[in-house]
Symmetry: C2
Subunit: 189 residues, 2 copies
Amino acid sequence: MARAGLTMDRLARAGAELADEVGFEQVTVSALARRFDVKVASLYSHLKSSHDLKTKIAMLALEELADRAGEALAGRAGKDALTALANVYRDYARQHPGRYAAAQFRLDPKSAAASAGGRHAQMTRAILRGYDLTEPDQTHAVRLLGSVFHGYVSLEMGGGFSHSAPDTEETWTRVLDALDALLRNWPAP
Amino acid sequence: MARAGLTMDRLARAGAELADEVGFEQVTVSALARRFDVKVASLYSHLKSSHDLKTKIAMLALEELADRAGEALAGRAGKDALTALANVYRDYARQHPGRYAAAQFRLDPKSAAASAGGRHAQMTRAILRGYDLTEPDQTHAVRLLGSVFHGYVSLEMGGGFSHSAPDTEETWTRVLDALDALLRNWPAP
DNA sequence: GCGGGTTTCCTAAATCTATTAGGAAGATGC
DNA sequence: GCATCTTCCTAATAGATTTAGGAAACCCGC
């Protein structure tokens, strides 16, 4: 029997593609086996469970996203950096909806620690260097930014912003303007 | 054979309870049948599919949430209203994580139109009456608030804010302070 | 280049979920 | 009390997950 040359890495990568095509929810060990033209049971030499597969796809997406964010942030500061990072998340979600959904997958503590999650927090924090915030306000602001990025992207993609005017493109730029203004003028406790 | 007295409504209600207990993802027609001590096929006299069940649970959650929001908003304005509404979402998510996840379920356009989704948008908009915003900034602000509420709650519940200091309670109040400040001082385009 | 050990893939089988078809018993209305 | 509709059932199909155990392919040292 010729071997298919499967590895965990290739499975995660193919799983990510599959997620973009049919949605992260629909990523299944069976579908993946089909894609490699291999019997389902064969995949269990490479992954422990369906949950394990999803975890690996999630971690791949988090890495990709962190890489993009790192690139986007290089050489930028202040509002420029804010906009760049925000757009990385939004663009990634639009280009790779399945992967973006995967990045939202709830990881167990061990996987979370090994994931690129920490890099994301660090990069959001890096943005704030361009603003005049000290702890604990810096952490508050990091959490606010994370909330807005994630919340906006997920509502927009879920159709939560309906179809009405003004368009979401305009809102996005105005929201980033507003965040910039807020960070420059963070209220005292 | 004695009848179990199933109705779509009771199924949705029981499904919501089940979601809170085991997670919305794990809500299954089979599990629901078990809970009513009835054969799986019997449920198909009341619902079209598993997806249909999830839709009904989502709409139930959206109604409950809108009812709570409506109560919380009565007689309040300005920052008081902002805080009240924000806390409704957060508290609901904590008390009923499965239902809250259900409320995030992506509805088809017909169900979405029949859902309480519109009431939610209206209530967020109502908050802004206490601030000096006109269109299209009002819509931008509605979307920002929705993003923050949803994003914060979902990151917090997903463990995205780790466990480090400062605690998320403090961040939450400071984020609401910041939003209030931002709305009172919305930047010109 | 050959024998042994490991890895990868297979067949087979159990279990769970979703869904449909068709039947029988309970409820309802006249 | 009969006809009809509804609700629940049995039976069956199909797909997903997961485990057990086997055989061929690959790799390593000799």
